[in-house]
């Protein structure tokens, strides 16, 4: 590393979802690589336009299966092997497990997915929040483009004008923005 730029990311702020989506499409088409986007709520189009891939649905399914198996093992151990109590003549390996299994399937899937997500995104307690723009949790949509060191002034200018032409209401620079 020879030198680091202080402001190494360009961001554009949009106040309309449709404009934001159209801008993303046009910039991808023009060959400008979008580094990250921030929206107040999930938008599936972002996923399609940026061509993102995720294995989270599959992991969620596996976690749910693990959750149901662990819970069944626990219930089987406690109420069949270790401390069987016969209530009203019902079998100890009982249908009443299903209610707990049902809940723990969901719980296992959610909790383990949550921690996986934390690990992937390197989130954790005590991590400082790097907010690109203060309105991303309010009603604004932000596109972030990385400004590399070898980028010439013309290229930077091109990115700025592309953002401006596509309806960005505010354009600025910001350091330390993570990739998706």
């Amino acid at each position: 590393m020879v030198s680091t730029l202080r402001n190494n990311n360009i961001f554009g702020v949009f106040d309309d979802e449709d404009l934001f989506i159209a801008a993303m499409k046009k910039m991808e088409k023009a060959g400008i690589r979008i580094k990250n986007v921030f929206t107040p709520y999930p938008i599936e189009d972002v996923f399609n336009i940026l061509g993102l891939k995720t294995r989270m649905p599959y992991t969620a399914f596996i976690y749910a299966t693990i959750g149901v198996m662990l819970t069944y093992a626990f219930l089987y151990w406690t109420s069949v092997i270790d401390y069987p109590v016969i209530i009203g003549g019902k079998p100890t390996n009982t249908l009443a497990f299903v209610v707990i299994l049902f809940v723990m399937t969901i719980n296992g899937g959610i909790v383990m997915s949550l921690f996986t997500f934390f690990i992937i995104q390197k989130l954790g307690p005590g991590k400082p929040a790097r907010v690109v723009h203060k309105d991303i949790t309010d009603d604004k949509y932000v596109i972030v483009i990385e400004k590399t060191e070898e980028m010439s002034n013309e290229e930077t200018q091109r990115i700025n004008s592309a953002l401006f032409e596509n309806g960005a209401i505010e354009i600025g620079e910001k350091e330390n923005v993570e990739t998706i």
Binding site: E44, P57, F61, G88, K90, L95, A96, V98
Partner: protein
Amino acid sequence: MDKAYTVSPGLRILSICLVVIGIAAFVAGFMFDPQRAWANYLIDSYYFILLSIGASFFLAIQYITQSGWSSMFNRVPEAMGSYITYAGVLMLIFVIFGSHSVYHWTHHDAVEADVLLQHKSPYLNMPFFIVRFVIIFCAWIFFMILLRRLSVKQDIVGGLTYFHKSEFYSKVFIFVLALTFSLGTFDWIMSIDAHWFSTLFVFKNFLSAFLHGSAVVALIIILLHQQGYYPKLNKAHLHDFSKYMFILGIMWAYMWFAQYLLIWYSNMPEETVYYQTRISHEWSVLFYGNVVLNWLFPFLFLMLNKIAKNKYALIFTAAVLMVGMWIDLYVQIMPGSTMSEAAPVGLNSIGFVEIGAFLGFLGIFIFAVSRTLSKVNLIPEKHPYLEESLMHKSH
């Protein structure tokens, strides 16, 4: 765009052939075992009543939530709802001639020997039964025709007047449906086992109607799409239909299991006897197969995103659900109405009468739905949300 649906001669011949098979099956059935034939008659007429009710509930929900995505397809649930008139006539034949063969409580000597049936007789008696039947079907036919008329008028006049009216009467309709459907199901299905009762029974059957009704709505739309109608049908619509099947399948299984678990838990002989007959011997295959077909299969199959948007996968799922629904009703109706006779029935007794009877009713259903579909324009052109439906995309 303004393509009206025309019934192809092949489809008309098919429906007539199916009806002929059905008539043959019933003739054979009445000659050898009238009780079994009447029980089959009840299964199949109730089957298509459920589809009709489910589809019209689907339509009402679309109006009430002001859904845009489905507005292009409104004609299909309307056409399925209009089958209820045919269903009324078919069911009336059963109520008048077939009740005695299926319902234990219609036998005077049985009632006299049975304290519980005597206790229930102020409600469960033939005249009041027929009165309830007439009221229920009048209400249903009235609302189906009303919703259909408002929709057709809107296509001529345009604007929002008839749209708001449709929404208002849909709201009235679902309240009326809640009451009439409960009473109807109590009367026609639950009173077969007159000693037994379950408060979740109606809700489970209603979810069955909604689940299978929406599945058949999707099936008909995809089949029409295959023939060149609804050119604007896209992956987003298909995904929405598969969401209906997926989520309602879970709801259905939830209710099925809730009813089973409560009875299993309390373990009272007068309640468990219902499940005892159904869970033992050859019935057990159908009993568990019911859950596999109606919940487990769609649940695992439609979970995959690519499959949930594939029209062939949806056709297959809807077909499986239709089979599953028939088995569901077979398990509900058959043991109570025919087990008292010498020979117990179950999986091995599904024969020509059962299949032929179903095909016969299917023929009438196809005939009625295709006839109503061909009457007016297939796409409601002046629906206020039509644009949204045509441009629908995933988000």
